[in-house]
Subunit: 306 residues, 2 copies
């Protein structure tokens, strides 16, 4: 096994009803690789930052087994920056600033040492960049998963559909699944997506859990009912990281194992929202994870036979 | 065991994006008792209808073991009538007509033969009528569950809170739980409700499943992701009927058994929405139910250990 994550490493500034941050480290690639680092000892990342990006963060990533040979540092350029403000219900947000900076002309390079990556997680990025990475891999990975968002459906639907046709697992939220397929019922939307290429679809429903679909199977993973969501930023990426990290570490692509992976992804996401940015993820221990997945199991398990 | 249902037996006229009905038989008491009849051979109902109500429907109820001695027939008066129209998303509806008729001065009578009812399901009704039934029972039933709705919170909050303090299980939906407690997070709302009297709360989330809370335990039941919801009318009542029917038939009030009861309630509700009104419930077989709860189990079960 080896896991390759493609995704932004970036700065965020976040405002929630609980407070606001200055520029902090964020980005899909950051959340994904941090979350998956709890499952795999070594992994690779393809990304790009500017020379304004703190080297200590890259050191921290390296110390967690994240190889940054594929992370380009653009001298004299600035790192991608996003700022947003969450509404009171935490389910919607306004984007205040998007500065593409180094992402504008990002040409992903796949280092030779990454060519043997068996598991690839394409974090939310331009679908053209996502597909380039796949095209630049000499051997077809065993499993490619992909996250995306409504933004790409609005401005690059054709590119997006092409990239979707190249992957095994598409991860998106309920509204995105509806927009992609023009279907309201998620079962019907998932069926349409499974005809676009992927063998599996995961539809995230936020506080309502997640659904995993294959052509002939379906799994519903609960979300932990939380008293407080402090900051939802990165929760979806963290889910993807936990999901792929678990699969890469177990090297098992059966539906039963994908179900477990969804639970591990959900558990990692439930940590992520407890503090601003990556803060909580950096504190999590293996014991925390074991206890958290047990909570998911206790929450949803029942025995039909008395 | 014996189960007593209190609730309206009524006429509905329903419009959904799939079609509309003339006056058909509905009412919380009807749905609850029909759903629970799959679990208990004999049960009792307290309700009221006018002389316009078809006797064949009462015959049908009797044939399913529903004793109608407590169902008053008001000569020369008219049965409660509700009509409503569902919006395209099926999650919201407009009430077009509400004719209280016999419900306006409904004084519930508890026949002597009903006094030994150990399990009582108070369907959505005026909280004053609900509490009267409890007060008129000579012995405290083993378990009293209660359904309600936002309407009573708007116009009779004090009466409602008094009735809630008398019951063991409160069943309501997410928006109602929020309105009752002024809390957005359902975990926090449930904690507040558990301080109002009930030992258990069930928060129904429609297509997102249901949560069962006790002071120290929590259970998340999925909803079956359905390709089509044909008519949601009565789904909540049918859930309550399946839930209480299962508990009354097993005579087990443990949390583990309440979890199973939530699954059986959800399964019954999933049938209800497949056709207009009570139509689908009247066709369901025991085999259908066994297969449906198995679907719920398959949908949400996972094994953390490989």
């Amino acid at each position: 096994m080896s896991l390759l994550t493609v995704g932004s490493v970036a700065f965020d500034a976040i405002e929630t009803p609980f407070g606001k941050t200055d520029k902090i480290v964020g980005g899909a690639g950051t959340y994904i690789s941090l979350a998956s680092s709890f499952f795999v000892g070594q992994q690779n990342i393809i990304s790009v930052v500017g020379s304004d990006f703190p080297s200590e963060v890259l050191d921290e990533m390296n110390s967690r087994g994240i190889d940054t040979d594929g992370l380009q540092i653009k001298e004299g350029e600035k790192t991608f920056f996003w700022s947003g403000k969450y509404h009171n219900d935490m389910n919607s947000r306004d984007t205040l600033t998007t500065e593409l900076n180094v992402l504008e002309h990002f040409d992903p390079i796949v280092p030779a040492s990454y060519q043997d990556s068996s598991y690839v997680m394409l974090g939310n990025l331009s679908p053209l960049v996502q597909s380039k990475v796949v095209e630049r891999m000499e051997n077809r990975p065993k499993l490619i998963a992909m996250d995306t968002m409504n933004f790409w459906m609005d401005i690059a639907m054709d590119d997006l559909k092409k990239t979707i046709s190249m992957v095994d697992v598409l991860i998106l939220n309920d509204e995105e699944a509806r927009q992609l397929t023009d279907e309201y019922a998620l079962v019907t939307a998932a069926k349409k997506i499974l005809k676009m290429g992927p063998s599996h679809v995961i539809v995230k429903k936020g506080e309502h859990g997640a659904l995993l679909f294959s052509v002939d199977q379906m799994f519903f993973a609960p979300a932990l009912p939380l008293a407080e969501v402090f900051d939802p930023t990165g929760a979806g990426d963290t889910f993807a990281g936990g999901f792929m990290g678990y699969i890469a570490s177990t090297e098992d692509r059966s539906f039963e194992n994908l179900k477990r992976a969804v639970i591990y992804g959900s558990a990692m996401a439930s940590f992520c929202v407890e503090k601003f940015g990556t803060q909580r993820l950096l504190e999590v221990t293996q014991e925390d994870i074991i206890n958290r997945v047990k909570e998911f199991s206790d929450l949803s398990s029942f025995d039909l036979n008395k």
